[in-house]
């Protein structure tokens, strides 16, 4: 074991964690924004918009990666823009963040949206009749009431971002120390016959994923208990 660790380059761990963390931040805000937009939208394109926003979840990751290449590549609309200011994201570490964000986004968006739609609309109406601005209603009523959904969406997004392989490989490549994430490291180690190294990474990602999910479970249990405790026995107390 010792000799194994001594020879191991830990950069994939750092690259993966950096990509997953930044992607979680990005999807946290974009997912909430998209969810609040779609749940408030009453037009006939709702189904289409929802479909587009959910697409990265359904498409094969390589397809997502390919589409990202089209957008961010040398001739893509955003790629050209970046080139004009003298930079490119393809095959550099920001590519890992972009790929992870895009594949993780639908999980955040869908979980938060269903949490928003479970809020009793009359609670929001009540807030409106009290003369309060939509902004305050959003932060003081909608978000707190949807919080369990927001938290669950965040964890799911993080886990998905951490585990992405296909899309990241397509636009980031597998440059060690730059864009080589744990899932990619596992693939290339196994392909190169270094099963011990692959196993090590597998164990590591196993531990991280399990840790995050377990922490999440205990935390939401704890939250539920505090709410239940503060709520008391609603039937037992009479006037």
């Amino acid at each position: 074991m010792n000799t194994l660790f001594r020879g191991l380059d830990f950069s994939p761990l750092l690259i993966s964690l950096r990509a997953a963390t930044l992607a979680t931040v990005v999807t946290f805000f974009s997912g909430i924004a998209a969810a609040s937009f779609v749940s408030a939208y009453r037009g006939k394109f709702k189904g289409l918009i929802d479909g587009i926003l959910t697409l990265p979840l359904i498409l094969p990751p390589t397809v997502v990666g390919f589409l990202l290449l089209l957008v961010f590549g040398k001739y893509g609309p955003l790629g050209k823009l970046l080139l004009a200011i003298g930079t490119t994201v393809i095959f550099s570490w920001p590519a890992t963040v972009i790929a992870a964000s895009v594949v993780a986004f639908p999980l955040m968006y869908r979980t938060v949206r269903s949490a928003f739609e479970q809020i009793d609309p009359s609670i929001v109406y009540a807030a409106r009749t009290l003369g309060v601005s939509e902004w305050k209603i959003f932060w003081k009523v909608t978000i707190p009431l949807a919080w369990p959904g927001v938290a669950a969406g965040t964890v799911l997004a993080f886990a998905r971002a951490l585990g992405d392989f296909g899309a990241t490989l397509m636009i980031g490549g597998n440059i060690p120390g730059e864009t080589l994430t744990i899932p990619a490291a596992i693939f290339f180690a196994a392909e190169g016959g270094d099963m011990e190294k692959a196993l090590l990474w597998v164990i590591l990602i196993f531990i991280i994923s399990l840790m995050v999910m377990t922490l999440m479970n205990y935390w939401s249990d704890y939250q539920r208990k505090t709410i239940a405790a503060s709520a008391g026995n609603s039937h037992g107390i009479m006037r």
Binding site: S122, Y125, R128, L130, G131, V132, G232, R239
Partner: protein
């Protein structure tokens, strides 16, 4: 202080089309479920938008389809007590009450919250969450939350429907007291005629989106202007009727000619008598007497509902059924009387539409 509503809105199945105004006295909106009562309140509050019409509160136009005015909810200054109270479950009693007055100075906020908590008699429960309160307490918090913003009008959507009977009477009295002190227009929606009768000075009866009667509550209950109004004010016995003479009509279902106190018009359609206003007599020669046979008795602790067959022309032949509501004492007395019983309808109590 005045609220004028004149709106039309297409709903599934029927069109809401009504026109009423109200000032400080509590106005009751009585109707069966699905008659458009709640929708009316939602339109006034700005939660829903009418298709046509105008809503004016104290001279302020809240909605006017012709002028293209439609003030958003938050600028209408209308308090709303929802059927399920819609309290913020994650906020305490005082945070709920203070939610709409966040722009005031801390000190003023505290003063208003204190005043409201005292008004609804919830001192000591300020730090509780809604789920820790009983239904009656939740209703009071919802009322206090609405009144804390000092609205110009107050809308109450079935505020008692979520309460059990035991609490209801108590709460009706409390609410009547609070509404009595409220300086603006108040509209109270209910499908329960007793609540409306107790709480509201004036009344609008709504059926399938249309006003079937309006006026002083007592007057409308005494003389409902339409069949639907008679039914919604709780008249259980209604028969088609035809005009015979200025003070006489024939109740077709009951097979009896009834004398009336008021001068009849030629085009009367129905006659009704409330189940609790029927009396028993021994003297058959009086006017307005029905001969009845007991079919079925439905006993509640405080009153008994009897379903009776009216005897047709030939003795013993059974015709239509009527309902008679009596007290337990009266029931003990009637049980031992030989049938057919002779029931008398006071011309004073006849409902003619």
């Amino acid at each position: 202080m005045e609220l004028c509503v004149d709106i039309r809105k297409k709903l599934s199945g029927f069109e809401l089309n009504l026109n009423f105004e109200t000032s400080e006295d509590v106005l009751g909106l009585l109707g069966a479920s699905g008659s458009g009562k709640s929708m009316t309140l939602r339109c006034i509050a700005g939660i829903e938008t009418p298709d046509y019409g105008q809503i004016v509160l104290n001279g302020r136009i809240l909605f006017d389809s012709q002028k293209g005015i439609n003030l958003p909810c938050r600028r209408r200054r209308i308090g709303y007590v929802f059927q399920n109270y819609a309290l913020f479950p994650h906020l305490t009693v005082e945070e709920n009450i203070g939610f709409g007055i966040g722009e005031l100075r801390r000190k003023d906020q505290k003063a208003i919250i204190k005043e409201m908590v005292t008004m609804i008699k919830l001192e000591g429960l300020e730090k509780r969450y809604p789920s820790q309160l009983s239904g009656g307490q939740q209703q009071r918090v919802a009322l206090a939350r609405a009144l804390a913003t000092k609205p110009e009008a107050l809308l109450l959507d079935e505020p008692f429907s979520a309460l059990d009977d035991y609490l209801r009477n108590h709460m009706v009295r409390q609410l009547t007291e609070t509404l009595g002190k409220f300086p603006g227009a108040a509209v109270f929606v209910s499908h329960n005629m007793e609540e409306v009768y107790r709480v509201c000075r004036n009344l609008v009866i709504l059926s399938r989106g249309i006003i079937e009667g309006k006026g002083g509550t007592k007057e409308v209950f005494k003389a409902p202007p339409s069949l639907a109004a008679a039914q919604l004010t709780g008249c259980k016995n209604i028969s088609p009727a035809i005009y015979i003479s200025p003070f006489e009509l024939k109740a077709l279902d009951w097979g009896i000619t009834l004398k009336t106190n008021i001068k009849l018009s030629q085009d009367i359609k129905y006659v009704g008598i409330r189940a609790h206003l029927i009396g028993a007599v021994s003297d058959e020669t009086k006017d307005n007497v029905l001969r009845c046979w007991l079919n079925f008795a439905n006993e509640a602790p405080s009153r008994i509902t009897l379903y009776l067959f009216i005897e047709k022309e030939n003795p013993g032949q059974r015709g239509h059924q009527i309902e008679w509501e009596i007290t337990p004492q009266m029931w003990r007395f009637m049980k031992i009387q030989p049938q057919p019983w002779k029931l008398w309808i006071d011309p004073e109590d006849l409902i003619i539409v």
